[in-house]
Amino acid sequence: MSFLWAILRGNTFRAALVAGLTMSIGQARAQSGDIIEVVSDRGVVAWLKQEPSIPMIAVSAIWRQAGSVSDPSALAGRANMVSGLLDEGSGDLDSQGFQQRLDDLAVRLSFDAGRDSFSMSLQTLTANASEAFRLAGQALTAPRFDAEPVERIRRQILTGIARSAQDPNAIAGRLFSALAYGDDPYGRPVEGTLESVAAIGPDDLRDFVAQRLARNSLIIGVVGDVSPDALKGLLDAAFGDLPEWSVPLGLGDVSMGAARGLTVTDYPTSQTSFLFGLPGLKRDDPDYDAARVMNHMLGGGGFTSLLTEEVREKRGLTYGIFSYMRPQDRDGLWLGGLSTSNDRAAEAWEVLRQTIRDYAETGPDAQRLADAKANMNGAFPLRLTSNEGIAGLLVALQRYDLGKDYVARRPELINAVTIADVKRVALRILDLDGMLAVAVGQPVGLTTGQ
């Protein structure tokens, strides 16, 4: 990311680019016929899109039920801590040895823990692919968890937790999750707490690797300059030695609890950060596409959304306001947020609620719906024009069982949504009385319970 970072430094955008907030992943040129399922000699399955024009390979892999949802309560943050340590020494290489090896080959290997899943991203130049995949395999199957990197990464995580305790948006996010889910694993921060992270030992980290990073929960997408045959050997090098089965978590579905209404948390700053949400839909819900179209018009469509029109364009109350559908493995959420100055927070809150209420009652007109569909269908191929992005798409297609032909089918699915569908899902989701919201700041005229 070094190029982009250099160039974006110091820039001020017309609109905040809301990244990583939606699971409705677009798919660029991944035409349905282009996706090949590759099965290695040892049975590792990956979806491949060949792209010979750049001498690189991008791999995206996830393990389901291996995110923070798998953390024991007292060890909250365990999956996240593992994600920081898999590239800090494995096999015969200590931390510096492993990192230098990656750097010498310009291999980009990283791990991340989300709520539901644990993920790996690997990018390598084609010329170094064999060693890159072998190193990934070594990281996954023989992590050392030496004392020095464990304590170092622990300090970094604890510092991050301390920082986020002072960040208005992070405060809002944690509070929302805690209010929505209480003691459920979804209610806990992915990074854990100061206490739980302090309690995680090397054996806990090893337990995670042994129990969670198995082949039965693994989904792989590969895009780049590699043939299916060559990929087979690479897959075995990286994933062939993983255990066959993960340990079942035994977690069923969940839904936001009874908490609702507005909670105000005092924080001394000139702006109030709002986060609001309602139960949404899981990705396999028959109404999911209708809900996605519904949300696009309300708060998902950037400059064209109703919330942006009403709160920003007409009244200048905020720089950014958005909403999105967040499907999770065990439930779904509809979430949104905005920041506004403390002295206008009450007005922004009221305009927000009124806009949602009006929309839920009257629905969109035909032109707005047509424009939204045109935007969603046209923008779909734009959003993933990179190998890295398409690798992520290939994972999502498998994860949600959308099929290799989803790219071709998607416009029909979107176009089939009618005004009646939008109204139905708006009624189903946008229940203002049930809305849970947090406001972090010093909003004038707003108090908890409003």
Binding site: R14, A28, R152, T340
Partner: protein
């Protein structure tokens, strides 16, 4: 997890445009508008950008923020486009759009299907000279910008502190002002301020068209002539040279404490050679220096402070040298909870002194070279990255050929070049050292 974000500068003072970084093509329209085409035929998609060679550094004194404010206002309307419809039209055609402002440039872009390129070219050309604003637009949008400033800068102590550090780095150069503007000056920006800036600077001979994606120069030339070539050049648009920065003769320290700060942070910024200031030949060696000192988990600062001594939880460096005026070289660290910030600063100073006295190893040099050259390949994976790289470079005064031959320059850098650059840049009298802490610092 421990990975740090590295800036990468792609500049070289000389170079041949051989097999290049992006294999871009370029030409100039009769009215002086430069055009760069970056072909990438992986998908039937284009990124269409217009960059203006002016930014916050060109604002009149007392009108900080007007370049960015105008950028917002360009979405309002023209004779042909009703107020607020620009982005809606782009969206209804399946595209997305945005714009951004920096010290040296203001840029507008759309990402859209190849077959809609002509549409957005017409719209972008239209608003280059036909903007129509009313007072109401200005007042509402100014509130939006003030909210943006609160969100970006004023909502956290670190945001406000960063602005103070930047201001302290420069004695009189406009790079010391925040791109978004000082709040008190934003509040006073008027319709006239915005329009005066617009009329003076928005012209084809002050703009660069960059299109990346499923298009060739042969495809684009007739369209560029039709939409942009038909706009007359403005002979009065010349952007004035930026003011000189007088010699720096005293190191500065900026200190602040705030109860909302959870963890002490330390940073130092040095004025540094850039493509437009000082010795541009030092820019590639400074990229190496930044990598070797502070580029991730194997860098000197991370190894010394975080791994070996354990006195910091993070440490690194950055270098930013693609600019018309002074670049900057930065160092940063977060002291460990049981350590103190003076020890961290001393360890960093020792690392700098060591490089100057003893140089860098061959292994370090080659590792940095490998990483920089690989970045150039990975950069091709994103359609917009190439367009941004060219826009940034060209508005800083670099040529297309120089961008294309950047890998050659990286191949030529020696260990001696890196040490020479370190010696030239690490001059304490040209630096600001800044500490933001939870409590009073001594």
């Amino acid at each position: 997890m421990a990975a740090l974000l590295l800036p990468l500068l792609l500049i070289m003072p000389t170079g041949r445009a051989a097999a290049g970084l992006f294999n871009a093509e370029s030409f100039t329209l009769d009215n002086g508008m430069e055009v760069v085409v970056i072909p990438d035929h992986r998908a039937p998609v284009v990124v269409h950008m217009v960059w203006y060679r002016l930014g916050a550094a060109d604002e009149p004194v007392g009108r900080s923020g007007v370049a960015h404010f105008l950028e917002h206002l360009l979405f309002k309307g023209t004779d042909k486009i009703a107020p607020g419809d620009f982005s809606k039209i782009v969206a209804a055609n399946g595209g997305r759009d945005n714009a951004f402002t920096s010290l040296d440039y203001t840029a507008y872009f759309q990402v859209i299907a190849r077959d809609r390129l002509e549409l957005v070219m017409g719209m972008e050309a239209d608003r280059m000279v036909n903007l129509r604003l009313d007072e109401n637009d200005v007042v509402t949008e100014r509130d939006v910008v003030l909210e943006e400033r609160r969100q970006r800068t004023d909502s956290t102590p670190a945001g406000q502190f960063g602005e103070q550090v930047r201001a302290a780095l420069f004695l009189q150069h406009p790079y010391g002002r925040p791109v978004i503007g000082w709040q008190e000056e934003i509040e006073k920006l008027s319709l006239e301020d915005a329009m005066a800036f617009y009329r003076r600077y928005y012209a084809p001979n002050n703009a660069i068209l960059i299109v990346a994606g499923d298009v060739t120069a042969a495809d684009l030339k007739p369209l560029a002539d039709k939409y942009y070539g038909s706009i007359p050049a403005n002979p009065d648009t010349a952007v004035e040279a930026l003011p000189q920065e007088p010699p720096h003769r005293a190191a500065r320290r900026v200190l602040n404490s705030d109860p909302r700060v959870a963890v002490t942070s330390w940073q130092r910024q040095y004025l540094a050679d850039s493509v437009g200031w000082g010795e541009s030949a030092r820019t590639a060696p400074l990229d190496f220096l930044s990598e070797i000192l502070g580029g991730g988990g194997t860098s000197r600062l991370y190894r010394a402070l975080v791994v070996d001594q354990g006195i910091a939880v993070s440490a690194g460096a950055w270098y930013s040298g693609v600019s018309r005026g002074p670049g900057n070289f930065g160092l940063y660290a977060t002291p460990a909870p049981d350590s103190d910030v003076q020890a961290v600063e001393a360890a960093i100073d020792a690392a700098l002194a060591d490089i100057i006295a003893n140089g860098v190893t061959e292994a370090e040099l080659e590792r940095a070279r490998t990483g920089l050259l690989a970045d150039a390949i990975y950069a091709r994976d994103s359609l917009s990255t190439g367009a941004r790289i060219f826009g940034n470079a060209l508005t800083a005064g670099v040529t297309v050929g120089q961008v294309e031959s950047w890998p050659d320059r990286v191949r030529e850098v020696t260990a001696e070049d890196v040490v020479e650059a370190a010696r030239a840049v690490f001059r304490i009298e040209r630096s600001v050292t800044a500490i933001l802490s939870p409590e009073e610092t001594s």
